[in-house]
Amino acid sequence: MAIGEEAIVRSELRWAAVSIGVVSLIMLALIYAGIVHHINPPSNIEPIDPKTLHLSGEFTEANLGTRVSAEGQVTSRIVATQFTFQPRCIVLPANQRVTLRFATPDVIHGILVTGTNVNTMIVPGYVSQVHTVFTRTGELLMPCHEYCGLGHSEMFATLRVVPASEFKPDAQGRVSCDAR
């Protein structure tokens, strides 16, 4: 039984419409995420040596965690490593501009903070930096979202977002979960 030329073209057009529809739907979802959730690619390129990350400088263990500078800028430095975050609990103030800086000494990790648009990869050799304002207080889960090895599924940290009145830096400007 022969199929007419016209029938073939109609069938092709139908399937073309379906695939255009699927692609358009995905594009609309991306546009929605870009406009409503402010999802955008990271724009900070800052190299750092992963082999000596722990030896000196910004990301030594003693220097990690939340710190308020003399100008009042809140910065939290966090290391993602196989298979833990250091520190594992991070205190941050609500409704205030904060900067999160991440680095890793070993493999590619990634983080997202649940319920917010904070989402970045953490690549060895680079500092990942995110500026944000947390509008809700409470404990937010921050899991590793880039497969990093056998312990990946047990790798997460907690962000404790507290009202500005409860955010009390010590004499060095540091704030940690243990202190509260």
């Binding site: 030329e5 030896l55 030594t60 298979f83 833990t84 000494p105 056998l150």
Partner: protein
Amino acid sequence: MSTDPLDRPWRLWASVAILSVFVFSVLFGFVLLPIIQGRGAGLDAFESICRALGLRPGSPAAPQPASEAKAQPTTRVAWSAELMQALDRPSAIGAQLAAACTACHGKDGRSVDPKLYPDLAGQSAVALYKQLNDFKSGSRLSAVMAPLAQPLSEEQIVAVSAHFAAFPVRSLPPAQMPAPSEAIERLVARGDPTRAIAACNACHGEQSGGPPEAPRLTHQGAQYLSAQLRAFKSGERRNDIYSRMRNVAAVLSDSEIEGLAGFYSTTFTY
């Protein structure tokens, strides 16, 4: 062969469609979205378009304060490919130096008293190198090991680590092997996601792909292993890079520590 008349309008409209999608993407991605997103970050339209096009650098890192923090007391060890290769080659110097270790760690790296001293036979050379270095720098405290490690040079530490790593592990009599409890086996193989405990295997398993300095735990005395876990838990021992071990030990219960130490002291595998 004549051109099919049905094809002609189709080709025209396909080109128009592709071109308009392209124009829309360029306008949306480089103009519209940067303006909308830039407004939230306090950037004017021109600046945000320039940044989207890559003509201006994206948000530069705020100047970071110079930090005085040094690695003490964590560790001073850093890994490199050359060091890893050197640790793979046992040498005659290593055998000579090892004479100083035999009183406690035994002639072939098999401890004379596994309760107190770990077996060195078959241990990873990378782990041995890091511990010797940490004893030397004071990152890991030991009244016995510190004076022995301090006079060693970098090359000597590499040699003696490679020497002991080359010995075969001690054989365990099968009669000593009780069946491990299910909960302990789960911690070793699966970890505990609710407490953020990665499986022991994720780092200490053979060829696990975890941190290179993670030591082999099998064939060690249960008392030695539980003493180390308790020291990590209390923070008395803190030479693990970025609290990898302290974070885990901190949430282990005392019975789990005993169970894990028992498991590793009586198992061949892992």
